[in-house]
C-alpha cells in the first residue's frame, strides 16, 4: 500500500530533473504528523546515485509487535496515509520548488526528507521489502521486515546497521504514527480554516513584507541585492519593480554604513527593514546595531525611536563553511534595547515579520537558510503574531523541550522516536529569543518538571545558556532534574559534511538526552 502511495507521489514530481529520486515527502509542517521532514537533518545525499555519506538515521520500530499485529499496523498505516492525503485544511509541508541558489541544498533536504520518509515508512510498515542502496529509485524501494528489538539504522548509502536496542515501550501495542497528540494551540495554527493558501517560507516572508509595505508607505527595504536581484533568497522578489528603487534599496557592500543609514532613516520617520544577505555579514554592522540601534532610544532620553527590522538568514546550512554558518543570536542577545525573534514555519514567519515591522522597537528577525523552502498552508486573513510569545508545538506531559528555528524540526523528528518509545515530550518553539516568554515556558515546566533545551547556537554564551539561567532563577523549585542544554559544539562550522553534521545537534542526541533526563 505504501508502495502505491509513494509511486503516486513519484509521478507527480517527474519534473525535478536534478533529482535522481523523483519523490517528495509530504509533511505536515506544523503538526509534524506521520512523516516528517527535517530540513538538513542527517542525510546528505549526492546528486549522483552513488551516495557515499555516512549519516545515520535512527528509527525505532515497535519491537514487541508480533507478526499478527504487524499486518494490522500495516493496514492502518496505509489507511492513515490515504486519509491524510485526502484531508483538507490540515496543514501540510511539501518541499516545493527548488530555489535556484539553494538547488543543491534543497535537493539534499529533499533527499533527507525522502530518506526519512522511507525510513519512517519502513519503520512503520511490515511489508517485506528491503532498502535499496542505490539511490532510492522508487520502484526498487523495498522495506525491511520487522524484527524484534530493532532499531533501524539506515545509512544513506543504503547499508543497514543494526543499531542499539531501543526499547519501544509502546504500551498500547500499537505504533503511534502521530507525534502530535493533540492539536496545537489555536493561536499557532490555521487548521481551523479550510481555506488559506499554500506557500513556501520565503514567500510567506515576502507576503508579510509586501502587505506591510502596502499598508504603510514609510516601510522600505535596505540591503544588498534586495532590489533588482530580488534578494539572495528571493524574499524581496518583484518588490523593486512594484515599489521602486528607493523603497527597495540596493546598497553597496557597506553593512556598517547602510545599517547606520537605516537607523538614521528610522530616527527621521521611516521604517526600514535591513536585510543582511547572510546574518554573518551583520557582524560588520555590529557597531551600528549595538550602539545606535539598541541604545539610541535610551541615550536620547526617549526622543527618537528606531523602528527598524534587521533580518537575514543564518544558521548552519549545507556545507557553507564557517563564516556563512554563523548564529549571531548569541552575540546580539546582550544588546539592551533590541528584541530578537526567530521564525521557523511559514505561518510564524509571516506573522513575526509583520509584527516586527509594526513594532516601535528595533527587532532582529532570525531566519534559517535551510528553512526557506518549507511549505505550509496559511490563512488568507491578515494576522500578526506576538513578538514576545512562544509557540506550543506539541503539548505533552513528561518533559519540556525548548527549541527554536531549525532545531524545532530535529526535535520533532526525535519526538517521533520518543513517542514510539512511550515518552510524551512537550515541545515549545520559543520564537522570542530576547525576551524569553517565561510564562509559556514556566507553565510547561510546572507541568513536566524536566527541561531540555535544544538549540543550534554555540554552547558558550548562547541562547541556551541564557535560557538555562533564566529557568534556574525562576523555576528552580519546579525542576526534578537539572536543565539540560544541547547546543552546537564551540567549533567553527567545518566544510566537510560529516564534520558539519557532528557540530549540530541531531535527533539521536535529543532522544538520548530525553531518555537520560526521564530516568
Amino acid at each position: 500500500m505504501l508502495d502505491v502511495y509513494f509511486r503516486n507521489k513519484l509521478t507527480e514530481l517527474q519534473d525535478l530533473s536534478k533529482l535522481k529520486v523523483r519523490k517528495l515527502k509530504i509533511t505536515n509542517c506544523e503538526n509534524l504528523d506521520t512523516v516528517n521532514e527535517v530540513p538538513g537533518c542527517n542525510s546528505i545525499v549526492e546528486e549522483e546515485t552513488n551516495s557515499t555519506d555516512s549519516d545515520e538515521e535512527i528509527y525505532s520500530t515497535d519491537d514487541d509487535d508480533d507478526d499478527d499485529d504487524d499486518d494490522d499496523d500495516d493496514d492502518d498505516e496505509g489507511e492513515e496515509e490515504e486519509e491524510e492525503s485526502a484531508k483538507e485544511g490540515k496543514t501540510r509541508a511539501l518541499f516545493g520548488a527548488i530555489h535556484p541558489r539553494n538547488s543543491v541544498r534543497c535537493i539534499r533536504s529533499k533527499m533527507a526528507a525522502i530518506m526519512q520518509g522511507i525510513g519512517a515508512a519502513t519503520a512503520l510498515s511490515s511489508s517485506s521489502s528491503s532498502f535499496d542502496s542505490k539511490g532510492f529509485q522508487l520502484p526498487s524501494v523495498k522495506y525491511f521486515p520487522e524484527r524484534k528489538a530493532t532499531s533501524l539504522v539506515v545509512r544513506s548509502d543504503g547499508r543497514l546497521i543494526p543499531g542499539s536496542n531501543l526499547n519501544a515501550r509502546n504500551v498500547s501495542g500499537r505504533l503511534v504514527t502521530n507525534a502530535v497528540a493533540a492539536k496545537a494551540d489555536t493561536s499557532a495554527t490555521s487548521t481551523a480554516s479550510k481555506t488559506g493558501h499554500e506557500l513556501l517560507l520565503f514567500e510567506a516572508l515576502r507576503e508579510g513584507l509586501e502587505e506591510e509595505m502596502d499598508r504603510d508607505p514609510h516601510v522600505c527595504v535596505v540591503g544588498e541585492d534586495v532590489g533588482h536581484y530580488g534578494g539572495s533568497y528571493k524574499v524581496t522578489k518583484d518588490l523593486a519593480p512594484k515599489y521602486g528603487d528607493l523603497r527597495v534599496l540596493d546598497t553597496p557592500i557597506a553593512e556598517n554604513a547602510f545599517t547606520g543609514m537605516a537607523i538614521g532613516a528610522a530616527m527621521t520617520g521611516l521604517r526600514p527593514i535591513v536585510e543582511g544577505m547572510n546574518m554573518g555579514f551583520l557582524l560588520l554592522a555590529y557597531n551600528q546595531i549595538s550602539n545606535n540601534c539598541g541604545m539610541l532610544h535610551y541615550t536620547s532620553g526617549g526622543q527618537f525611536t528606531i523602528p527598524v527590522v534587521i533580518r537575514g538568514p543564518g544558521g548552519v546550512g549545507r556545507q557553507l563553511g564557517a563564516e556563512h554558518s554563523q548564529r549571531l543570536e548569541s552575540y546580539f542577545q546582550s544588546i539592551p534595547g533590541i528584541q530578537m525573534v526567530a521564525c521557523s514555519t511559514p505561518y510564524n514567519a509571516k506573522g513575526l515579520m509583520k509584527a516586527a515591522i509594526r513594532s516601535e522597537n528595533p527587532v532582529i528577525l532570525f531566519e534559517h537558510v535551510l528553512l526557506y523552502n518549507l511549505k505550509e498552508r496559511i490563512p488568507d486573513e491578515e494576522y500578526v503574531l506576538s513578538l514576545e510569545e512562544a509557540e506550543m508545538v506539541r503539548p505533552g506531559e513528561h518533559i519540556t523541550i525548548l527549541t527554536y528555528s531549525r532545531m524545532r524540526y530535529h526535535v520533532m523528528q526525535a519526538a517521533k522516536t520518543l513517542v514510539n518509545k512511550g515518552y510524551d515530550p512537550e515541545v515549545i518553539d520559543i520564537r522570542s529569543l530576547k525576551p524569553f516568554d517565561l510564562y509559556t515556558i514556566g507553565n510547561s515546566i510546572k507541568k513536566t518538571h524536566r527541561v531540555l533545551i535544544v538549540e543550534e547556537c554555540m554552547r558558550t554564551g548562547g541562547i541556551g545558556a541564557s535560557l538555562t539561567a533564566a529557568i534556574n532563577e525562576n523555576f528552580n523549585d519546579y525542576l526534578d532534574a537539572p536543565v539540560m542544554c544541547l547546543s552546537s559544539q564551540d567549533v567553527p562550522t567545518p566544510y566537510a559534511g560529516t564534520l558539519e553534521e557532528w557540530t549540530v545537534v541531531q535527533p539521536a542526541q535529543i532522544v538520548t538526552a530525553v531518555e537520560q533526563l526521564c530516568q
Binding site: P217, H218, C220, G244, L246, R247, T251, P252, A254, N256, A257, F258, T259, G260, M261, A262, I263, G264, A265, A266, M267, T268, G269, L270, N287, Q288, N291, N292, L296, H297, Y298, T299, S300, G301, G302, Q303, F304, T305, I306, P307, P336, G337, Q339, S359, E360, N361, L387, E388, E389, S432, K434, P435, F436, D437, L438, Y439, T440, G442, N474, F475
Partner: protein, 433 residues
C-alpha cells in the same frame, strides 16, 4: 602675503587681519619636510590645489563652488555686504554663546558638577555657527562627542544642555545621554555619538529620509538637508568613505563637514593620514570637495551657503574641510602636552570671535557697546542655565527602565503571564529584567 590674499580671494573674499598660514617658519614635523607645501603654508596649498589638474573632473568639482563665490565677490564691489547687521549680530551671539558655554563647562567640571568625558569646542565656533545658522529648524545636524555647541547653535536651549551635562532629569536627554549624546527631536539634533564615524551613517540616513519623502512620499517641498560634523581622525574611518560613496551615489542632501583641527587626541593628522588634504576625498567619490578657513565664520558661511543650496536643489552632497583648531585639549581630561605652543599661539591669534568682532566694528556693522551687550546677555544666560541645572532634580529610580524600549512590551512576558512592564516594580525601577 599678497599671493596668499589673491589665492584666498577665490573663496575667502574677506581679508582678515590675521595671516592665513599655519606655522610659516617652523615645520611641525621633520619627517614631512618634503611635504612642506602643506605644512609650510596652506595658502600655497590652495593655489596648488586649484591649479593642479590630476583629473579634469576633479578640478572642476572643486572650482565649481569657489567659482560661484568668486562671481559673487566680483559682483560686490565692497566686501561689506557679505552679511547684514542682523546676521552679523546673530553670528556673533551664537559664537559667544558657544564659547561662554564651553568655558562654563570647564569650570563646572573642575567643581565636580559634571563627570566623565567632556570635549570642548573652544576655537571651532566658526564652523558650527557658519553652517548651522543657515539651516532651518527641519534640517538635521549630526555630530560627534564634541557636540555641545552644535546643539546650541541648532537651537537647543542652553539650560537643557547644561542640565544634561549635570545629569539632571531636565536635560535634553533626561540625563541619560550626557556630554557625548546630545539629542533633540524638536530641533533635529541627531546626536551626539561617542564612537567617531558612528554618526555619519545616521546623518546619511536622515538625508535619505529627506530624499525618500520627496520622491516616494511625494512631499514635494521637502528639501531638508543634513549636516554631518566630524573630525580629521574620522576621515580615515571606513564609515566615512562608505557614506561618501552612498551619498554621492544617490545624491543625498547632505553636507559632510570635516572639522580638521589637526589633532585626534594626541595623534597629529599628518601622522595618521596618507594624504592629509581631506577635501580631495570628495571628488574621488564624485562630489565637490572644498577647503575653507574654519577660523573665519564668514568664509565658512559662504561655502556653507553654496553647499546647502546644492543639497536643497537636489544636486547631491558636498565635502567641506574646515581648517580649524581647538584651543583646549581633546577633553577636559587631556593635559594637552603634545601640541606645540607656537602652533597654539598662532591659532589663538585667529580666534574667530575676535575676528568677527573686528570685522563688524571696522565695517560699522555694530558698535563695541552692542557687542558688549551681547556678551553680557550671554553671560547671564549661561549663569541662568547653571542655576537651572543646579536646581533640577536628579533622575529618580523609576527612570532607570524607561526609554530602553519605545514599546516596553519588549521586556517580555514574566513568569506570571503579565508583561514585565506592567509590573509595578518595573515602573519603580527596582525590577530586574
Amino acid at each position: 602675503m599678497s599671493s596668499a590674499v589673491s589665492a584666498m580671494k577665490i573663496h575667502q573674499p574677506l581679508p582678515l587681519p590675521t595671516t592665513a598660514t599655519r606655522s610659516p617658519e617652523t615645520p611641525l614635523f621633520d619627517p614631512f619636510k618634503s611635504n612642506s607645501s602643506f605644512l609650510g603654508s596652506t595658502h600655497k596649498l590652495r593655489i596648488n590645489s586649484l591649479k593642479s589638474a590630476s583629473s579634469g573632473y576633479r578640478r572642476s568639482a572643486v572650482v565649481a563652488v569657489s567659482d560661484v563665490v568668486k562671481e559673487k565677490k566680483l559682483n560686490n564691489s565692497s566686501m561689506v555686504n557679505l552679511i547684514t547687521k542682523e546676521e552679523g549680530l546673530e553670528l556673533y551671539e551664537d559664537m559667544v554663546l558657544g564659547r561662554a558655554f564651553e568655558d562654563m563647562c570647564a569650570q563646572m567640571y573642575y567643581r565636580g558638577k559634571m563627570f566623565g568625558f567632556v570635549h570642548l569646542y573652544n576655537g571651532q565656533e566658526a564652523v558650527s555657527t557658519g553652517f548651522i545658522k543657515l539651516l532651518k529648524k527641519e534640517d538635521s545636524v549630526c555630530s560627534t562627542y564634541r557636540d555641545h555647541v552644535h546643539a546650541l547653535s541648532k537651537g537647543v536651549p542652553a539650560r537643557a544642555v547644561m542640565s544634561e551635562l549635570f545629569g539632571k532629569t531636565t536635560g535634553c536627554c533626561r540625563g541619560q545621554g550626557g556630554s557625548m549624546h546630545m539629542f533633540s527631536k524638536e530641533h533635529n539634533v541627531l546626536g551626539g555619538f561617542a564612537f567617531i564615524g558612528e554618526g555619519i551613517p545616521v546623518a546619511t540616513g536622515a538625508a535619505f529620509s529627506s530624499k525618500y519623502r520627496r520622491e516616494v512620499l511625494k512631499e514635494a517641498d521637502c528639501d531638508h538637508v543634513t549636516v554631518a560634523f566630524f573630525g580629521d581622525g574620522t576621515s580615515n574611518n571606513g564609515q566615512f568613505f562608505e557614506c561618501l560613496n552612498m551619498a554621492a551615489l544617490w545624491k543625498l542632501p547632505i553636507i559632510f563637514v570635516v572639522e580638521n583641527n589637526l589633532w585626534a587626541i594626541g595623534m597629529s593628522h599628518l601622522r595618521a593620514t596618507s594624504d592629509p588634504e581631506i577635501w580631495k576625498k570628495g571628488p574621488a567619490f564624485g562630489m565637490p570637495g572644498v577647503h575653507v578657513d574654519g577660523m573665519d565664520v564668514l568664509k565658512v558661511r559662504e561655502v556653507a551657503k553654496e553647499a546647502v543650496g546644492r543639497a536643497r536643489r537636489g544636486e547631491g552632497p558636498t565635502l567641506v574641510e574646515c581648517e580649524t583648531y581647538r584651543f583646549r585639549g581633546h577633553s577636559l581630561a587631556d593635559p594637552d602636552e603634545l601640541r606645540d605652543p607656537a602652533e597654539k599661539a598662532h591659532y589663538a591669534k585667529r580666534d574667530p570671535i575676535t575676528a568677527l568682532k573686528k570685522y563688524m566694528t571696522e565695517n560699522n556693522l555694530a558698535s563695541e557697546a552692542e557687542l558688549k551687550a551681547i556678551e553680557k546677555k550671554i553671560d547671564e544666560l549661561i549663569e541662568e542655565a547653571v542655576e537651572f541645572a543646579d536646581a533640577s532634580p536628579h533622575p529618580s529610580r523609576s527612570q532607570l527602565l524607561q526609554n530602553v524600549f519605545a514599546d516596553p512590551k519588549g521586556f517580555g512576558i514574566g513568569p506570571d503571564g503579565k508583561y514585565r512592564c506592567e509590573d509595578p516594580k518595573f515602573t519603580e525601577g527596582t525590577a530586574h529584567v
